[in-house]
């Protein structure tokens, strides 16, 4: 009955999820704390007829993943901090050429080689704005090992459905923690494949403006010969140097994500309704925060939390809604306030917004959160 109950590490759950979603190609370059993802992929993929390749660096890995996806295989790469920086140019390429792929970034302390083995949540903004210019992106962040499995499947699904690179923004705590995972049977979880062209090859427009804003994708070798370029291109895929086409393309790229927020935004609400103070949190911080919320409740302080599972696009309307009537918002995160700034941008009330931050490689404990909150509350009462 329960032979699919597994005791997995976050990084392992990521690979299992990827294979469940149909991953058949992985290209990567080892870096702590993401390395186990490459190692397990290299062991598992040949067993299912898939392929693993260790490339010469992260730039090459990202390039190979795009090539692999265009060649018809669901493709993934995994990296950490400095490697994520290296991938950025080609992530931008995947955005404009609309090639589905998944990029896992198990964050580590930085900048630069920083803190290789310590946890961090410092790449929130790099996930959003790491590549140049304006473009949409989807980034998901799991709070547990079993959620890592689930969100990896969703990352592949979003990438295929919306023809876009999707970033799985993990942290070292989740990546290296072991927890129970009930691996779903085939068919239990939805698996989405890219939309294929239904027209003759001479009628195919690789970047057609369809109603859903997502063009059908022919893989190379399937009889539709077309051009793929990172330059601004028209519906046929050929470069154009026209302001109106540039605007049209960017509008469609943004539109295909922004018009599907209901589908893309994943979040969890915990004891928000009657709460006075609200936490906004993500990744491993959701765990410390949950315990802090429970502790505060036990002491009669009405706390609640909002957990972002989809980090990008940012759930703007939802944040506005849940922060209404709250006296205070606390944003604990293992960086110097990257999510807090997003919240501040959105919440324009008298409500005070406080960051609880650490970027020194140390996890923020529930006690630390409790003490911080009580410190602020005490000060307010004194005033």
């Amino acid at each position: 009955m329960h032979n699919n109950i597994k005791f997995l590490q976050g990084n392992e759950a990521c690979v299992q999820g990827a294979i469940y979603a149909g991953m058949k190609f992985f290209a990567g370059y080892p870096i702590t704390p993401s390395t186990e993802i490459a190692e397990l992929s290299s062991a598992m993929l040949p067993k299912i007829g898939g392929k693993f390749i260790q490339m010469e660096d992260e730039i090459a890995s990202m390039a190979a993943v795009i090539g692999g996806s265009l060649g018809g295989l669901k493709s993934m790469t995994a990296t950490s901090g400095p490697g994520f920086s290296l991938k950025q140019e080609n992530i931008g390429y995947a955005c404009i050429t609309e090639i589905p792929c998944v990029i896992v970034n198990v964050q580590r302390g930085g900048p630069s080689t920083g803190l290789p083995t310590s946890p961090s949540q410092g790449d929130v903004m790099q996930a959003r704005w790491g590549t140049h210019a304006d473009h949409p992106i989807i980034a998901l962040s799991p709070t547990s090992v079993s959620e890592t499995f689930e969100l990896t499947v969703k990352a592949f699904n979003f990438s295929e459905k919306y023809r876009t690179p999707v970033i799985l923004l993990m942290d070292e705590v989740i990546a290296h923690m072991r927890e129970k995972v009930i691996v779903p049977n085939e068919g239990d979880m939805l698996v989405i494949d890219r939309k294929k062209p239904q027209v003759e090859s001479d009628e195919y427009k690789a970047y057609e403006y369809t109603e859903d804003l997502v063009p059908a994708m022919a893989n190379f070798g399937e009889g539709y010969r077309y051009n793929v370029t990172g330059l601004v291109h028209d519906e046929t895929g050929f470069p154009v140097n026209s302001t109106s086409e540039a605007e049209r393309l960017l509008n469609r790229l943004m539109g295909k994500i922004n018009s599907n927020l209901d589908d893309i935004l994943i979040y969890e609400e915990y004891l928000i309704e009657d709460s006075d103070i609200l936490f906004v949190t993500f990744g491993c911080m959701a765990r410390s925060t949950k315990e802090a919320v429970n502790n505060l409740r036990n002491e009669g302080i009405k706390a609640g939390m909002f957990v972002l599972k989809t980090i990008w696009p940012f759930p703007e309307e939802k944040i506005k809604q849940v922060s209404k009537d709250k006296n205070m918002i606390f944003v604990p995160e293992m960086n110097l306030g990257q999510i807090r700034q997003e919240v501040e941008r959105l919440v324009k009330t008298d409500c005070n917004i406080y960051g609880i931050n650490k970027a020194n490689g140390e996890i923020i404990t529930p006690e630390h959160i409790n003490d911080y909150v009580k410190g602020v509350l005490g000060k307010c009462l004194a005033e």
Partner: protein
Amino acid sequence: MPSRIIKNNFRVDRLPHIWCPGCGHGILMRAIAVAIEESNLDKDKVCIVSGIGCSSRAAGYMDFNTLHTTHGRAIAFATGLKVANPDLKVIVISGDGDASAIGGNHLIHACRRNIDITTIIFNNNIYGMTGGQYSPTTPNKEKGTTAPYGNIDKAFDICQLASGAGATYVARSTVYHVNKMVEYVKKGIKHKGFSLVEGVSACPTYYGRKNKKGSAVDLIKEMKHKFIDISAKDKLSKDDVKNKIFMGEFKDVKEPEYIEEYFKIIDMFKKEMSI
């Protein structure tokens, strides 16, 4: 009326190309088309992958699956494409700067892996697209817009580089010796493993002008005299080869190919499962 070669292999509606008058890149692009045509390949399986540069613009003109990537990364994109679908005939077109400067790491590692990709390098000894800066193949003492007093770097010999890194077919020709170019590209396509064909090109606009080499025709004429076939090497005296550059086939060997080796691993599990 476009010729049969043009009609069969080019996106006629994308022509004329935007290369400067006298640029050698068009001659090399046509040589590749002729080689593909004469190799009787299934057009739907041919993929042309290019990087960024004047040379890399070739992909857009050619009527195959074409992938115009980021600067220097064409070979890495091509690697993923080929591994994902080994039925594809993957041909990379790259400039000397694209392939040996920013893309140098990918070039040597693709050679080392001996993955079944054919890479053709349009070597005009300069960065054309960005306006004539010196590249890793600009000869020592020659000029570029970023080497106004003469280049002090030592130039790469791309064929030696590829041979040393493990490519299993390596050849060089020029836009003057265009029939040889066709022959080598054909052999490269047929070769199982990583093949590299260097096509020496002419950039009259920047390289020619900066180094006072005369007209486009003068540049191409110079190739006629400067390049001698490697097969004649033993018969030539030191004086004969002074100031000359070798062309021809430098390497043609059989070695295990990357994807074939990978399939052996996959097959291992297939067998295990069938027991």
